[in-house]
Symmetry: D2
Amino acid sequence: MNYKVILQEIYNESEKLATLGKITSSIPELGKVDPDKFGIHLTTIAGEDFGIGDSEEKFSIQSISKALTVALAFSFLDEKIWERVGVEPSGSAFNSLVQLEYEKGIPRNPFINAGAIVIADILVTHLKNPKQDFLNFIRMICGSPKIDFNLKVAQSEKDTRFRNAALANFLKSFGNIHNDVDEVLDFYFHQCAIEMTCKELAHSFFFFANEGKTKAGVPILTKSQVKRLNALMQSCGFYDESGEFTYKVGLPGKSGIGGGIAALYPKNFVVATWSPRLNQKGNSELGMNALELLTTKTEMSIF
Amino acid sequence: MNYKVILQEIYNESEKLATLGKITSSIPELGKVDPDKFGIHLTTIAGEDFGIGDSEEKFSIQSISKALTVALAFSFLDEKIWERVGVEPSGSAFNSLVQLEYEKGIPRNPFINAGAIVIADILVTHLKNPKQDFLNFIRMICGSPKIDFNLKVAQSEKDTRFRNAALANFLKSFGNIHNDVDEVLDFYFHQCAIEMTCKELAHSFFFFANEGKTKAGVPILTKSQVKRLNALMQSCGFYDESGEFTYKVGLPGKSGIGGGIAALYPKNFVVATWSPRLNQKGNSELGMNALELLTTKTEMSIF
Amino acid sequence: MNYKVILQEIYNESEKLATLGKITSSIPELGKVDPDKFGIHLTTIAGEDFGIGDSEEKFSIQSISKALTVALAFSFLDEKIWERVGVEPSGSAFNSLVQLEYEKGIPRNPFINAGAIVIADILVTHLKNPKQDFLNFIRMICGSPKIDFNLKVAQSEKDTRFRNAALANFLKSFGNIHNDVDEVLDFYFHQCAIEMTCKELAHSFFFFANEGKTKAGVPILTKSQVKRLNALMQSCGFYDESGEFTYKVGLPGKSGIGGGIAALYPKNFVVATWSPRLNQKGNSELGMNALELLTTKTEMSIF
Amino acid sequence: MNYKVILQEIYNESEKLATLGKITSSIPELGKVDPDKFGIHLTTIAGEDFGIGDSEEKFSIQSISKALTVALAFSFLDEKIWERVGVEPSGSAFNSLVQLEYEKGIPRNPFINAGAIVIADILVTHLKNPKQDFLNFIRMICGSPKIDFNLKVAQSEKDTRFRNAALANFLKSFGNIHNDVDEVLDFYFHQCAIEMTCKELAHSFFFFANEGKTKAGVPILTKSQVKRLNALMQSCGFYDESGEFTYKVGLPGKSGIGGGIAALYPKNFVVATWSPRLNQKGNSELGMNALELLTTKTEMSIF
């Protein structure tokens, strides 16, 4: 498979679509990004790297971090984690309180905001210095010390926190937050404010494609655990567009409102895209399209 | 892979769980089935057959038929089918009217009852003699003329039709049923009342695993179309337990309240199970468990 | 109180608003009515009649009939009626299925469609010749033999029945319809298709203001029963605009999509208005406004 | 009307029911109250006072305060108040977030928690020293300087604030809270923690029955404004039991989870009851019953 040529083709075809979608307006600091950035990076299971466009420029990974926090929490709690969060797609918008009310404070899955806040609470409980320890974990799985929080973004999330604060307090009212609400939110806003390049993102997700081991060979999760998280990303990784992504792309992945997407073909490759213009459901317009082209051109989807 | 040994192991381990779950009470005629029946049949992509238990006994396929009607409708309409039904998991029970109201008569996906009734309407429009033509289609993809409706079951569905009649009338009020409500329901009750053995079911689903071609080599759908339907089964095939099934089993499939499940590993195998005792979400308790054991033992899941 | 002068003032002030709102499009036959019709009739508890505008022209009373069917059903069952329908405002649109699903087939109150269909079912059970007997009841309480069904309207309701058919089947699936769905709907479509003038409507509602006795002195309900139905009309008589009507007008009443409203001040007067242009919530724009002017000018509201 | 005798009768009949219902468990400090307390106080429009039982013992008025805050806010903003909160019954539990989400942050009415928090925000904006000024207002309308906050109760509300904090943050996310969330909640917890006797409560509500003027003759609201708030209490004063209360009692009123109820018959009387045992919907079991007996015995309901 000549990934270099394929990425180039995808990049060229994407040029024509380059102005679809709008940059997020929900977090002011994110609104300052150049909306026309576009990068793709693919890393094969053999370790080969292929990048194109703005693939080595940093961006805010936002909700993509939820796949990494759940991996870390899963390594602590294994199946017990599902006592506090479900594994079903939500069928509604990513920050809906409605479902949470009907389901008595157990979020549908760890990729909607409510679920991710519960996972953040678990990490605050299990980590000694939650923010620093989590950052170290990310640097380790990525194999790069150059990953950091963007503190302006973290502050901007805090300044516009009200919906997430509503979720966290609501969860607490059901007993599903064990730590102080403000501490949990502070952790959550920082995890979302991590910055990576497409290349770093692909490397960070490498263990999902590699039966649980990082590019450097460090075991993070067991084979079986990693299959399960991949399945969960497939079901729930794209808010209420998860079915659409599964239908069109056919790979497990996770998106963020910073415009990034990480996806993977188990035992084959990891791929990360970045384009800040989002479609109506909050997923990157060009990124979704690039990944659909990738699976069409390579005929590599899991189905 | 020694499937014979593996099926035997699964069968033995299932014995211990044999009384979990309850037979459906929603359709009286189905309630007359022996709840302790249990069979598994696996057909490899090479055409080898492996069966155990009651795998050659007929049972009511019920909602499993929805995967076959959508395949036929997809062969008629291709992507235009999605103008009338979505591809997103529903996040709620299989016969919920709530979501349909919020979403103005476009069912979330073709595997919930509302969606399947829309698909039935499409087939009533496109087939000359809808019931007979659909039966012929099933016989053809299965490669067996011995498949038929159970008319007592069809009548029992009609006698207890009120919730489905509510759905069909509701869809009609939104303009998403084009034919007469009673005619569409009559077709729908018959499709659900088809009877097959596990073996016949596995053969009928063969084309989903075989890039669109039946066991006899007849092309039903294109490679790309079949990938998309497999993705859809993965996202939505198990009502509001689709995430759980994806998480635990990691194969696309479809269940029915008659206790059957059909699942597949693309380019590898098709498997069908039957055990009438259902869990709280309406899926076969033993069947779900058998498939989880199968992917654990074979380490063959798509993730 | 000089009602003649007051009605004239209201009529004059209404002229300025005469083109607000739109005639209903939900039932084709009702769409043929002249949208500019406007009439008011007030009958005092002493029996004096005051009419203005098109107050002696027939129109389709539609949902106003729900107050009369519940009165008749209440006379049969007394408090047992509340085993099958509630007394709480619905907080949502008049034909919503959502609430019905969450509340397991017990409609919130007898004035939303679902509740009225349950009441229709009760009357079908208790009346020998349901449609004729109910018509005779209406003629009796009104004191006029000249009231009849408009059969074209009844047929038009039947032709566009799908949402009501969905409700009736849904209720039946919960066991809250005892008779045949089609027979109950036929009765329901006829009750809605009754035609009256404002004057006849005011006379028909006279017993609600007169401690349970008709203008001719016939006892229909006890003092206590009539208070309770008045309270219920106050809470629930105007779909999800009941609070607004209570807030602005402060009288118990019932509206219909034919553009009619009947309202009353216990022990004082009954008033009926008709103007086919409806606001967004399905209540008569001019009628609501006329009644607000009436209570403002007379300072006669119950609060 | 011999109110003395009637209250005595009601009191005697209530003895038989004295153990129905349970004291609230939602706020620990309130759980310490003697559940068997029971008092009634009625003040006629002429100023006569009739009390029985524990009618001069202080209790936490809780949500009854919402009628007083909305009256004060209404006196500041008049009809503009309805730009931020509705006048429709909610049709769901008093602290539901679901409806708020569907209705984009405009609470259904000022008597559910979300609506009362918006009203609190309005008062925080308009009052110089919000808590003290509001307390002074209550003392003035009651005609007693002996009314105060119970600071232990206020603290207990704060300690268990999470659901209300969720509501306040959620409202803020829709832009419907203008001040700091914590400041608004602090005000809200204090207003709920006001303590009164039945007698003081009846006196405080006197202006609702007296065309807007307090017992001492001070004008608080206009005649028309007071009618409108009475109508609103009638529609929405008893959470999702408002219809039931209207149906059975037929008087405008407001309840609180401390077990108090204030109700009134315009131009006739004000009545307050207190019994801490609540029914399943959070209203005082004995209090509801006592008021039903009162309107039955006196035949004084507004309908």
